[in-house]
Structure formats: C-alpha cells, structure tokens
C-alpha cells in the first residue's frame, strides 16, 4: 500500500502573507466600492453639497420710493449710509472703542458701550454701535484701525425739509418700514419688491468669475406725488409756530385745501416733530391732530346750520329774526339753574339788548341765540342729514391712517342737543372735516374727498391715479349765499384779522370751551378760523385750530385769524390767483 503523501504544512509566514494579501485585496475592493458609491451613487448629492458650500444667496433690498410735493421737490428720499458694527469678542478695550467711535459719530458713547456689553453677555458676534451714519463718518471710524470694528452699507430715509412736512409724510423705523403718516399709508407701494443674487464664492469670500450667477433684480418702490406745496407747507408750519408763541397756546393745526380738487396743499402742526430722530419736543410721540384729533367746532359750525336752513327753505336771505336776546332757554328754567349750556341755557358771547336781527347779521356777529332760533325753523332730522352730507361723523376717507370719525350726537331724548349742535357744541370734528365742509361751500355745494397723494409712479414711469369721491351737499345758490355771509364776517364781523390785502376773503371764527373730563366745560378754549378766498371764485380753503390760547387770545378772531391770513396770502400767491382788485 502506497503511503499517503505527507500533508504540506503551511508555515506561519505564509499564513501572514496570505492574510495580508487578503486584507489588501479586501481593502481595494472596499475602496473600489466606496469610490463607486461616491462617484456614481452619491455623485449628485456630493455635487450639490459642494455647490452649497460655494453658493451664496444675497437679498437685494429695493430702493424705497421717493415722496415728492406737487412741484416735484422731494420731501422724503432714501440715500446710502453706512452702519458701524463690532465683534465684541475681538475688541481690545470696550470703553476706548465705544468712546472713539462716539467721538466721530457724535452719538452717545454709553449707548454703544451698553450694546457691546449686552453682546458680550449673550455671546453674539455682531453688534451695531452706530447705524446709518454718513459714509465719510464711517470711513473716519475705519481709519482709526480699531480691531473688531467694521461697516456695512445700509439705506437711510431722509427728509430734506426736516420737520416742515413731518406730520403728513410721517416716518419709517430704523429698518426702513413705514410707521406713521404717508410712509405707512403707502408703505406697500413705497417698499417695492426685494430681489435676489445667487453667486459662487471662494473660502476667502471672493466672487468666483464665470461660476453660477443668477440675479433677480429688486423692483424699486413707487414714487408718490403728493398734493402738498412745500413752500406753502413751510408757511403753514411757521404760521403755527408763530401763533403758538404769540398766543401761548398748547398747539396749533392748519389744513389748507384746494377748493375744487380737495387736494391738501398744506397740513402743518405745532408742536413740531422730527422724522429723523422720531421724536417731538421732550420726546413727545407723533401726532396729527388735523386728521386724528377731534374738537367741538364752536361757531364755525354755524356754516352748516345756516346752509341747512337756506337749502331747506327754512330761511331766506331777506328774513329778519325778531327779538334776539343775549340768552335763550331750550329747557325752561335752565338759565336760572346756574349750570352751563348743556342743560339748555344758551347765551351770546357778549351781553346785548334784545333786537331784531337779519340772518346776515346773526351770522356776521355770530349770535348763538339767533342761530338757535334759525335751527328751530329747520324741519326735524334735516340738521343731521346735512351734517352727514357735509361729512360729519364719518372719516373723510383721506389717504392717511388712523383718521378720526368725529362725533354726531343723535340722541332723540336730548332736548338741548340740536340747539347745542347748531352753535358747534355736542358735535366733534377734525380740522380736516371742517375744512372739507367749507370747501363744499367754496366749490358751489360739491363736497370733494380730501386727498394727499395725486398719483403713484412706478419704475417705468407709469402713473396711477384715482378720482376723488364727490357729492352735491347743497345747491349752488345756497353755497353762493353762504360765501357772501362768510365774506361779511371778515369785512365787518368777528374775522377782520383774516383779511388779505387785494383779495376778498370769507370765513368764520369759532371759539369753543373745552370739555372738562369731570363734566361741564372749562375756561380753556379751542379757537379756530375756517375760511376761503377769493370769495367770488374760491381757490383755497384753510382751517386754523389753536388749542388753549391765553385768555387775551381766547377767541378764534384773535388767535386763529392772523395765522389764517398769513397762510392764505401765501397760498393765493403760490397758486397765482389774480387779486380781486387794487386801488391803484
């Protein structure tokens, strides 16, 4: 039997070689598999991942539209500014850095210091220390070479005429969003649409030429063409400041309307407001009493009462009202009760004997008693109908936010309310509402909705306009008669200080005691004057409202009429209205 060949023994060295070979081959297979996976299976994923690392997307902020006055002068525009920011962790000396920056920007260094400290506490690596400074100022800061300080460009809203038109134009917040006035009323149109730029950049942040680059341009905001006349706005602004200084009043508001179109030529107020610092005197907040404030109009309301009476045929121009005393009771015994008018006792401004008075004299001398007697001749309900027609109790619909509605008291159980309403109590209006009501008389009885913007213009120059709402509130004849009565007031009545040389002016004074929050009335007054010129074909209607003038100026004729005359004269010149006459 042949012997079996002896089994070949594998040495340990051979085993190691085989093992090593196996590992190597397995490794190659592993690498090959991985290579295949990366290059084929996951190829798209890795390509996308790599692209994402290089791709940068930047939002292109649209330029906010410019706001122009009616002559094309800018009243609000956007310019490029620089904002200074720091990486708090990189600052060598926080106090020194804050003080150095503040010494150039002129801002409070402690504000910057506190912002940096907050950044250090929260661990953020981006803290603004001065936003929206002039590019030259920002460059001066960068020239200091402070570590951890950098600048970025940022749009800034500026108002070239300062606070002159602030109450109309409003303001934006630090990020350029409208927060008041036209800036918020037309925020959507002014803002535009942001664009986007997608590009590739290297690790150092340099744009890679010829690489992916997609640009969707930003669409600039629309420009606004307002109805304001900047020169007239300045005159009104100055007139208000002068009136407040002269009369010691708390405030003054002026609204000037184009009689035929309802365009607001000027709307100014005092105290002033700075739209760039976003504050009034002593940090007072923004307000616009001309649109948002209400007051009892006093005798300026008599225009509505007389117009309603004429238009309904309750009175005629030739009517004489008999036995007009200086006191009148709508509730028996009211005048003996030692309480005020709201209980039914009405009196004229000055004591006088009981006399027969013409309708014109009642209006010219602003007799409360005579006016109430005329109101009593108007059929029931007509007074409220006419007030509604003249725009009382509802917003005018002007293109401005937060407009007040005004108040019309329609309490059928109130026995003295209509009498109060006839002389301008028990009713509240905004200066704009009363100006629009007078404009209806100026415009042959046609009420025109006031407006602040005539059109918007897009980047292609396309103009968008909207026609104002109109309605006939009284007949042309009634309007004509009322204008003659208004002229009488200025020529020989309580509004003589409202006269303008060369023009025939008409208007009505108003003096209303202010309501006491605890009931009744105080000695403080709201003095006003509303009028128009030239009276034969009025072009401009102006309302002046003075809040709480000193006692010696407590009437509309002394406090408001002079300011009216100043603004009216400027308005007539601005519109090129030919004088009624000159004496050679």
């Amino acid at each position: 039997m042949a012997a079996r060949p002896a089994a070949r023994r594998v040495s340990a060295a051979e085993l190691r070689i085989w093992l090593l070979g196996f590992i190597l081959v397995a490794s190659w297979f592993g690498l090959g598999y991985r290579l295949f996976h990366v290059q084929v299976v996951q190829a798209e994923e890795f390509q996308a991942s790599g692209l994402n690392q290089r791709l940068e997307t930047r939002t292109l902020a649209p330029n906010r539209g410019t706001i122009f006055d009616r002559n094309g002068d800018p009243v609000a525009m956007t310019v490029e500014a620089e904002s200074i920011w720091v990486v708090p962790q990189l600052l060598e000396d926080v106090v020194y850095t804050a003080q150095s920056i503040a010494s150039i920007t002129g801002r409070d260094w402690e504000v910057a210091y506190q912002a940096i400290q907050r950044g250090l506490e929260s661990g953020t690596r981006f803290v603004y220390v001065a936003r929206q400074v002039e590019p030259v100022t920002a460059q001066a800061v960068m020239d200091l070479g402070l570590p951890g300080v950098a600048i970025i460009p940022e749009a800034k809203r500026v108002y070239p005429s300062g606070d002159v038109s602030a109450h109309v134009v409003g303001m934006v917040d630090i990020d350029g969003n409208g927060i008041e006035g036209l800036e918020i009323a037309y925020d959507e149109a002014l803002t535009g649409t942001p664009g986007q730029m997608v590009f590739e950049e290297d690790p150092a942040g340099n744009v890679i030429p010829q690489a992916t680059r997609e640009v969707v341009p930003a669409v600039p905001g629309m420009d606004l063409l307002t109805t304001l006349d900047l020169s007239l706005q300045f005159t009104a602004h100055e007139a208000c400041a002068e009136a407040v200084e002269r009369t010691g009043a708390k405030g003054c508001w002026i609204v000037a309307l184009h009689a035929e179109t309802g365009e607001v030529l000027a709307m100014a107020g005092n105290p002033p407001f700075d739209p760039e610092t976003r504050s009034g005197p002593d940090g007072a907040p923004f307000s616009n009493f001309a649109v948002r404030g209400m007051y009892e109009p006093g005798s300026t309301q008599k225009l509505i009462t007389f117009a309603a009476a004429f238009d309904t045929g309750a009175i005629t121009p030739s009517l004489v009202i008999g036995a007009v005393a200086d006191r009148y009771e709508t509730t028996a015994g009211a005048c003996e009760s030692a309480t005020d008018e709201i209980y039914g006792c009405f009196s004229d401004f000055a004591d006088h004997a009981t006399v027969d008075m013409t309708v014109a004299d009642i209006f010219t001398e602003s007799s409360n008693v005579g006016t109430i007697k005329i109101q009593e001749r108007i059929r029931a309900g007509a007074m409220l109908e006419y007030m509604n027609a003249f725009g009382y109790g509802v917003p005018t619909g002007i293109d401005y936010t937060g407009e007040a509605r005004g108040i019309v008291n329609n309490d059928p159980g109130c026995t003295s309310c209509l009498a109060s309403t006839a002389i301008g109590y028990n009713v509240a209006v905004t200066p704009l509402q009363i100006a629009a009501a007078y404009a209806a008389i100026a415009n042959d009885g046609l009420w025109v909705q006031p407006r602040l913007v005539t059109s918007t213009v897009d980047m292609d120059g396309e103009v968008f306009t909207a026609d104002p709402v109109t309605r006939q509130v009284v007949s042309q004849n009634t309007a004509w008669v009322m204008r003659q009565l208004l002229a009488n007031v200025v020529e020989s009545g309580t509004g003589k200080l409202a006269s303008v040389p060369g023009y025939r002016v008409g208007g009505k004074t108003g003096t209303a005691n202010k309501l006491d929050p605890n009931g009744g009335y105080t000695d403080e007054t709201v003095a006003s004057f509303v009028g128009m010129a030239p009276i034969d074909d009025p072009k401009v209607v102006i309302a002046v409202v003075i809040d709480d003038p000193a006692a010696e100026y407590r009437t509309g004729g002394s406090a408001a009429a002079p300011a009216f005359a100043d603004v009216m004269e400027a308005a007539l010149h601005a519109l090129g209205v030919v004088p009624d006459a000159f004496d050679g």
Binding site: E80, Q484, L485
Partner: protein
C-alpha cells in the same frame, strides 16, 4: 603539436555585402504631431479665452462697483440739493436779503378792476343788511 596559419575568410565566404545608405529625406509630419499641435493650440486658446472672460468678469464687477458708487454719490448730491432748496433754509436767507411777498400795490391787474368792498354779484342785493339798507326788498320779519 603542430601549428598552422589562421585562415582569413573572404568577404563572399562571410556572406557579407555592401549596403549603400539611402539618401536622407525631410522628416514627415505625422498625424500624431498634428494632433498634438492642435491640442496645444486649443489648450492655449481655451486658456486665453478663459483668461479673457475672467478679465471681463473682473472689469464687469469693477464697473458694477463704480455704478453703485456713482449712484450713491448721485443720491447724496440730490439730497444736498434738496436741503439747499428747502424753504426752511431759503426763507430766512431771503428775509435777510429784504425779500417780501408782493402786495396788491406791486401787482398789476390789466383787465379787471373791481371794488373789493362792493358786491360783485347782483344777487347780493337781496341779502340781509343790503336788502334792508337799500329797502328795495321788504324784510320779512319773523312773527
């Protein structure tokens, strides 16, 4: 031990012959060389084109920067003009120079001269005090 002389074989016996060299010819440009040359030219062309495009991109970026800078400067200048033209600045200067609004005495009305104190519309004659003053219309007295 004997010796003999070493025999030298003849040329024929060695099987050798004289070979005349061929005349030298000009080197032939082979397709491979042409291919390489074309490749080189294309390569340089691509590099040149790429460089030119990159240069163009840089020029474009520089132009964009200049446009932005010019736009910014333009906006700043428009702002400066607006501020200089603002009534708040001009009015005090005008006042210092003695400028005033023209009054009616400086205004020439060529075609129309009217008395501002007199009613310009005949309908006015029927109203209130004028009616009473002229007594053309009997006042209607309230009972």
């Amino acid at each position: 031990m004997t010796t003999r002389a070493l025999r030298v074989p003849t040329r024929r016996e060695a099987g050798l012959r004289v070979v005349h060299g061929r005349r030298a010819r000009r080197p032939v440009v082979t397709p491979f060389v042409v291919f390489v040359l074309i490749l080189l030219v294309a390569l340089f062309g691509i590099v040149f084109a790429r460089t030119s495009l990159d240069q163009g991109a840089f020029d474009l970026a520089e132009m964009d920067r200049k446009i932005v800078a010019a736009s910014t400067e333009n906006a700043q200048l428009r702002l400066e003009v607006a501020r200089l033209e603002s009534p708040a600045r001009v009015a005090p200067l005008a006042e210092e120079m003695g400028m005033v609004f023209p009054t009616e005495r400086e205004t020439v009305v060529v075609e129309r001269i009217a008395d501002p104190t007199a009613p310009t519309d005949p309908r006015w004659a029927s109203i209130g005090r004028y009616a009473a003053a002229t007594s053309e219309v009997t006042p209607e007295v309230e009972e």
